[in-house]
């Protein structure tokens, strides 16, 4: 079967800024920090206090398709985002009969798991273990609930590849539709990790900023933990056009590679191969890319490595590319990151605005470039979004502005 064009006809999100893909985009465009102060009763002597968590009321006020005893909040968030994306696509249950659901998560039901550990270690509190712990914790729960809710009987995949989970999921859905294995897919990622146990685990790894998340800045000192869900409806361009759907953007390319090196330390060559592969898969040249929504975690290692990789890929044209990391806005959403950032990137193309990289103060000599610090006009047709994960897993998506 010949290769088919793949488009996005629905997007949905929930993040620290609230429910709605537009809410997320406006926060990114307007440069609103998502950091909030967290003081967990369950962490003794907590040092880091900033995270971009989703407030409980944001989840409860927007909840849809809830099965109270059977779902962790990571599923509630996925269903809120999926409902928005499906509504926007204009597709009904019957349209999803053979559709795939490819939705990743890094931690799965972290809140349930955290409660279990907490109470298991404190038998004197006499709290009964949640009998539905297993179905609430399993990382594929969100993908399965989406499949059940929207009647999608095609394949379910759950990529649990840390920070590349959502990027790889969207890329996999793109490949499956492009190759003819699927006509439609509901895809993206979800993460509900701003809970005491997971927060503490990141704190002891020492990669969280004690101050502000400043990607690419000389004085950067770590990431801002985030969470949320981003869901996209992908289908063939042919089917979208045939039913007169609004095409939000085209998925124009995808690449994924492994560093096969260090578990935690990124390798610029792996990242560069991922970006190059994404361009090649879409038949694009580096000069076609006008904007890169960088992985940009604001850790020393990622930002140096990612910059070196971008220089390898874009060469002399690198200076002409607008680059920003929007992680200070929505936090590092881990398994949801690639989907939240895909939604930001798609909207950047639609509104022709490159969103700003917050809190940048000065150029790092080891990096040697300044990202977009104020929102600026974006005219090119293609934009790239990177996700790089612990475990040396790189994923790059390229999106194209819908042609009218």
């Amino acid at each position: 079967m010949s290769e088919r064009a793949v488009v996005i006809t629905g997007v949905g999100a929930i993040s620290c800024h609230g429910a709605g893909a537009d809410t997320l985009w406006r926060a990114a465009r307007d440069g609103k920090s998502g950091a909030r102060t967290y003081e967990f009763d369950r962490i003794e002597d907590q040092k880091v206090t900033q995270a971009a968590g989703v407030p409980p009321e944001t989840v409860s006020e927007n909840a849809v398709h809830v099965r109270p005893r059977m779902q962790d909040r990571v599923v509630h968030m996925a269903l809120i985002a999926a409902e928005e994306a499906v509504q926007q696509s204009g597709l009904s249950k019957a349209d999803f009969k053979d559709a795939g659901v490819i939705v990743g998560s890094g931690f799965g039901g972290a809140n349930t798991l955290d409660d279990n550990y907490y109470f298991h270690a404190r038998p004197h509190l006499d709290v009964r273990m949640d009998p539905f712990s297993i179905p609430k914790i399993m990382t594929n729960a969100a993908a399965s609930w989406i499949s059940m809710t929207f009647g999608a009987n095609g394949p379910i995949y759950c990529n649990s590849t840390a920070c590349s989970s959502a990027g790889q999921s969207i890329g996999m859905a793109y490949h499956m539709i492009k190759s003819g294995m699927l006509d439609r897919a509901i895809t993206g990622g979800t993460e509900g990790c701003v809970v005491a146990g997971v927060f503490r685990a990141w704190e002891v790894l020492r990669v969280m900023t004690p101050t502000l998340c400043r990607p690419f800045s000389r004085d950067r000192n770590g990431m801002l933990l985030g969470e949320g869900a981003g869901i996209l409806v992908l289908e063939t361009k042919e089917s979208a056009q045939a039913r007169g759907a609004t095409i939000l953007a085209e998925v124009a390319g995808y690449g994924t590679t492994a560093d096969a090196g260090d578990l935690l330390r990124p390798n610029p060559n792996g990242a560069a191969r991922s970006m190059t592969q994404a361009l090649q898969s879409g038949g694009l040249a580096p000069s076609d890319v006008a904007y890169v929504n960088a992985h940009g975690t604001a850790t020393v290692a990622n930002d140096v490595s990612e910059t070196e990789a971008m220089r390898q890929v874009f060469g002399d044209g690198f200076d002409a590319v607008a680059v920003s990391s929007t992680k200070p806005v929505h936090g590092h959403g881990l398994g949801a990151a690639g989907a939240l950032e895909a939604i930001v990137t798609i909207n950047a193309l639609r509104e022709r605005i490159a969103p700003p990289n917050l809190h940048f103060t000065e150029q790092d000599p080891k990096i040697g470039f300044t990202p977009v610090t104020e929102a600026r006009a974006l005219d090119g047709r293609y934009a790239m979004s990177n996700s790089f994960a612990f475990g040396g897993i790189n994923a790059t998506l390229v999106f194209g502005r819908a042609q009218t």
Partner: protein, 90 residues
């Protein structure tokens, strides 16, 4: 470092004990000019060292600062001593 009983020397000795314990490198090999790479101490080991420093001195040092560029045992000692001093003055 002529005065073995100076507060700095005492602190550096405590820090060397921590480094030896956490990285499982023999204490005697931790000479000031020894390169961390040659001792097979990787950046991941810093996490353990910094956690032990937090436990003992109550300070949070992220891995995302100057520690990413240090090369020798002395670099590590100097940085840790400086961060502990900074914390005390805050």
């Amino acid at each position: 470092m002529s005065n073995n009983s100076s507060p700095t020397q005492k602190l550096e000795n405590e820090l060397l004990d921590i480094v030896a314990d956490e990285t499982m490198v023999e204490r005697a090999l931790l000479k000031p000019d020894a390169r961390l790479e040659d001792l097979d101490i990787a950046s991941a080991d810093f996490v353990l060292v910094l956690l032990a420093i937090e436990e003992k001195y109550g300070i949070y040092i992220p891995v995302d600062n100057e520690i990413s560029t240090i090369e020798t045992v002395q670099d590590l000692l100097t940085l840790a001593t400086q961060k502990i001093a900074e914390e005390k003055t805050e």
